[in-house]
Amino acid sequence: MARITAGVASSHVPLLGVASDQGKDRDDYFGPIFAGYDWTREWIAKPENKPDVVILVYNDHASAFDMSIIPTFAIGCGERYAPADEGWGPRKVPDVEGHPDLAWHIAQSLILDEFDMTIINEMDVDHGLTVPLTMMYDKPDAWPVKVIPLAVNVVTYPPPSGNRCWALGEAIARAVNSFGEDLNVQIWGTGGMSHQLQGQRAGLINAEWDNMFLDKLIGDTQDLRHVPHIEYLRETGSEGIEMVMWLIMRGALGKSTKCLHRHYHVPCSNTAIGHIVLEPVDGSVPPSPTLEGNNEAAQAAI
């Protein structure tokens, strides 16, 4: 049976990709940022922790989707994804290999569970997805993990509510738990933390709020599912709203979590870098209001 063994959150600032690609990741500016990921790189390389598949929650930044189509939740069920050209040529990092068996299983389960998913079979993936891979795995010839992209709209308002994101995480956990194959699955939430990339208020950073947010990912509080969008906007800048994506990760870890590692640094470009590694303690999630039980038959049918 597949199981979610850990949750990882990380900022996905494009400049971190540039720093890595240009070999600046240990200079004075970037060194302290990347140093905070050393623990994680060592942890994730250990056989007992190494994920087979990562469900990578991120947002597309006007790369795969233009304004003609805006999916709230889009799940990648394809075989592979190429790095997007974001205006300066695609990053020279490996293609991202998908896990269509698990992805389709999750997509189908979520729709039965009354989440209105958009299924994606072909798309390019931008820094929102490739930068977290860089932070966790450095510069391998091929990414050592299969990835299920889960793209969330956090650009055009309204994004999904925090409560909806958390509930989606719970439904993802139910879906993973009902997949027959024995897989170590991690879920990553990316984006954030506080930043504002626009207007006269650009450059806003709120270390106090960010650390409150990190605190509340740990343990069994569910306070964060009720934080309204306006609070992210006022407290953490217009792009701080990306943190709702971390709640999908948190929801998927179930009732209670333990913190394995935590890192916070200001600044990277315009942004506060946050990174946390969580382990489920009591990984139980509420049963689906619409689907009950959990049998392993018919897996072959997928």
Binding site: P14, L15, H61, A62, S63, D66, M67, S68, A84, D85, E86, G87, W88, G89, V155, T156, Y157, P158, S161, G162, N163, S194, Q196, L197, Q198, G199, Q200, R201, A202, G203, L204, I205, N206, A207, W209, H226, V227, P228, H229, I230, E231, L233, R234, E235, T236, S238, E239, V266, P267, S269, N270, A272
Partner: protein, 136 residues
């Protein structure tokens, strides 16, 4: 959605944040072709045509003249007012070879150096920046 009774109240709050344009439906509609133009610069062949003759390229897009002039002037605050979204506009400044910090600093009225110094010192404080009506 904790704290809001409906979409009207939800949206009204967004107008109360200093120096910030939230990318609502109203802005998305106003900026539709502006953002689609910017998006077109993701293709190398379009970047080449744009760099060779900016005015000719932008005139092919069904944007307002005001939007075109603001793009040509790289006036990003103006572009936000005219419905631009920063992730779309990023294709324009990336094509110019500018980083996010360089482009974003132009919106704050600060020099790049001062802006970067502010960031290194911990960024802009939210104190007094949360609300136009209130002053927290």
């Amino acid at each position: 959605m904790a704290g809001h009774s409906d979409i009207h109240e939800y949206l009204a709050d967004f107008e109360d944040i200093p120096g910030t344009r939230v990318y609502t439906a109203a802005r998305a509609r106003k900026g539709y072709h502006l953002n689609q133009f910017a998006m077109s610069l993701m293709k190398p062949e379009n970047r080449q045509r744009w760099l060779a003759d900016e005015r000719a390229y932008i005139n092919e897009w069904p944007m307002t003249q005001e939007q075109r002039e603001a793009v040509l002037a790289r006036d990003y605050n103006r572009l936000l007012d005219l419905g631009g979204n920063i992730y779309f506009l990023a294709k324009v400044f990336s094509t110019d070879g500018l980083s996010f910090v360089q482009a974003v600093s132009t919106m704050t009225g600060m020099s790049v150096e001062d802006y970067q110094a502010m960031m290194v010192a911990g960024g802009r404080s939210p104190e007094g920046q949360r609300s136009i009506k209130g002053d927290s």
